[in-house]
């Protein structure tokens, strides 16, 4: 378990992390989301005692990181795939970490095998591709067989098999009762991996909730029904107080109705259904909705998730400006300009 209490970090006048308090619990994969510059990396670095908090604290199983004698046995982290010495072989990079925490050298070969780098274990890591560097970083996180694992953008540079593998690895580790904390910008990937979400924006906690609740709270969910007797179905729904909307293909979309309720309703009245499915928005839509809705983001006047081209995120303080739409118009004018 990781506990953050009132964690803040200021760089000069800029507040990177602002009174962040949350817990990362064992047994589930907890996703850590936020736009660029929201303070995710700073928070993760503070969790590992790499950056000193301006105020507040982080506890790992109730203790400060610095109080852990052999921290790799408690918590393993992949922060930066390239945080290894390029002139050293993959094996030796891991060996010196293992020795510092009195982990047997046999474990080094073991984790290299787990991540599939055995064949290049003796090669200098500077020749590694981003994906291989990522695997090496994952190996270093697994080194001490820790109960807590942190991954910052783990799928970066991995190929589809690698992505599938790391996703299942994280789920598996969580299923074993370990604490898994993973940050990612890939909403579609996160939707498949995480059970719980912690969302921050501008250093502040925006949400700390389950994946399902997050999506439900931040987007529209509805049921879709399809029937060979559409008239009867529509009448039935109207009678039951719903307002179905007909969509392309003859299906009806019903807001505020559970499929259970609709199924019972149809059975009761003998209406045949050829489809009865719950429609959920994607995590991405929910995320965009939330970050657009949060006060900080309104200040910059941005991000309507419904718009086809939301502006780019802010670099530092700069407002994003409505660049997206400008391109729409600019495509033509650009041609003229040439």
């Amino acid at each position: 378990m990781i506990e953050l209490e009132g964690l803040s970090k200021r760089f000069g006048a800029k507040v990177a992390v602002d009174r962040l308090s949350f817990q990362v619990r064992p047994g589930v994969v907890t996703g850590f989301l936020g736009p660029n510059g929201a303070g995710k990396s700073t928070t993760m670095r503070m969790m590992l005692d790499l950056d000193n908090p301006t105020s507040g604290s982080v506890r790992i199983d109730g203790r400060h990181y610095r109080e852990l004698a052999e921290p790799l046995k408690y918590i393993g982290a992949l922060l930066d795939a390239k945080a290894m010495h390029g002139g050293r072989s993959a094996y030796n990079n891991l060996l010196c970490l293992a020795q510092a925490n009195r982990i047997p050298a046999s474990r080094v070969s073991e984790v290299l095998d787990i991540v599939g780098l055995t064949a290049v274990a003796r090669k200098k890591s500077k020749g590694f591709s981003l994906g291989m560097g990522q695997r090496l970083g994952i190996a270093s996180a697994l080194l001490g067989d820790p109960e807590i694992l942190m991954f910052d953008e783990p799928v970066n540079g991995l190929d589809p098999e690698g992505i599938h593998w790391i996703r299942n690895l994280m789920k598996q580790l969580a299923a074993e009762g370990r604490t898994i904390f993973v940050s990612s910008h890939l909403m579609s990937e996160m939707a498949l991996t995480a059970d719980h979400l912690i969302v921050i924006g501008q250093g502040r906690l925006l949400a700390d909730t389950t994946m399902a609740a997050f999506i439900q709270e931040n987007s529209r969910s509805y049921a879709r029904v399809r029937s060979p007797q559409p008239e009867r179905l529509r009448d039935l729904l109207h009678t039951a107080g719903f307002t179905p909307v007909e969509v392309a293909g003859g299906a009806l979309e019903v807001d505020g109705a559970s499929t259970e309720r609709l199924g019972e309703l149809a059975a009761e009245h003998g209406v045949v259904l050829h489809e009865l499915s719950a429609q959920r928005a994607s995590l991405e839509e929910a995320f965009m909705q939330m970050t657009a809705g949060s006060v900080e983001y309104h200040a910059h006047g941005t991000s309507d998730p419904g718009r086809s081209a939301p502006p780019g995120p802010r670099w530092g303080e700069g407002p994003p400006a409505d660049t997206g739409p400008r391109w729409g118009a600019g495509g033509g004018s650009g041609t003229e300009g040439i």
Partner: protein, 259 residues
């Protein structure tokens, strides 16, 4: 707390598994010994051209260390890279995650690297001395002569301290490029040039390398050099103070700054 033997073992693995260790230390040894030998051979063949005063104050021991001015630069590179590559590679974050007690981490790293630098420094010093004396012919001295053993051992200590000083500076600056950019010109140019400028000389002799190099002199004011207001061990002491100050600065930076 992290166990110190474990950290030492880890740092030893780090240092022996990068090729820069081999080539910097080998360069320190070879450059010092080779340049010293060449200069000793030159002294021998041109000894008669020296002025009488220079002939009288000729210091055969110091002559056999004359390549150290160049060889120490390799030691500087060694020292800087030991610390600097942690930062340039990003390894520092991984390292500190494994050993969050930063004092222990720094001590382990510097201890291992300094012991290694001292060992190579001693080997260099003795090799340069014996080869140099062999080439000096009739102008040579012996290891048993007064103060000579002190000078030779001092040469080894000097090399080790130069390396440690460089490590400390790199810890403060957290960058190999920056540290080399400051230390190399300083030891090779600034310090040497200032030592030859009349007024600046009095300041320059308190620079770490100038003060520390005093231990390698057997004949005071050798080759017409000016008199310095401190003896050989005091000179090494001055150098040690520089090293300790740099270490304190490095430790403070490592302790306070975000990794």
């Amino acid at each position: 707390m992290a166990s110190l033997p474990a950290v030492l073992q880890s740092e030893w693995t780090k240092i022996r598994t990068v090729s820069s260790t081999i080539w910097t230390l080998a360069a320190a040894f070879l450059v010092t010994v080779a340049v010293s030998a060449a200069l000793c051979a030159l002294f021998r063949s041109t000894f008669d051209d020296l002025s009488p005063a220079q002939r009288l104050t000729f210091d055969p021991t110091l002559a056999s260390f004359s390549g150290m001015t160049l060889g120490q630069l390799a030691m500087v590179v060694f020292g800087v890279l030991v610390v600097g590559t942690e930062y340039s590679s990003g390894m520092i974050r991984t390292s500190l995650a494994a050993v969050p007690q930063r004092g222990t981490f720094l001590f382990g790293k510097l201890a291992v690297a300094t012991v290694l630098a001292l060992a190579v420094g001693m080997a260099t010093s003795f090799a340069a001395f014996f080869l140099g004396q062999a080439l000096l012919g009739e102008h040579r001295t012996t290891i048993g002569a007064e103060n000579v053993l002190r000078a030779v051992v001092g040469g080894g200590l000097y090399m080790g301290l130069i390396a440690l000083f460089s490590m400390a500076v790199a810890t403060m600056l957290r960058s190999s490029m920056l540290s080399l950019g400051i230390l190399m010109p300083f030891f090779f140019l600034v310090s040497q040039i200032l030592a030859a400028v009349p007024k600046a000389k009095t300041v320059a002799r308190y620079f770490p390398d100038q003060a520390g190099a005093r231990i390698m002199q057997v004949v005071p004011d050798a080759l017409g050099g000016t008199k310095v207001p401190y003896g050989p061990w005091e000179g090494l002491g001055i150098m040690l103070i520089w090293v300790l100050v740099a270490l304190a600065g490095g430790y403070a930076v490592l302790k306070r700054r975000d990794a």
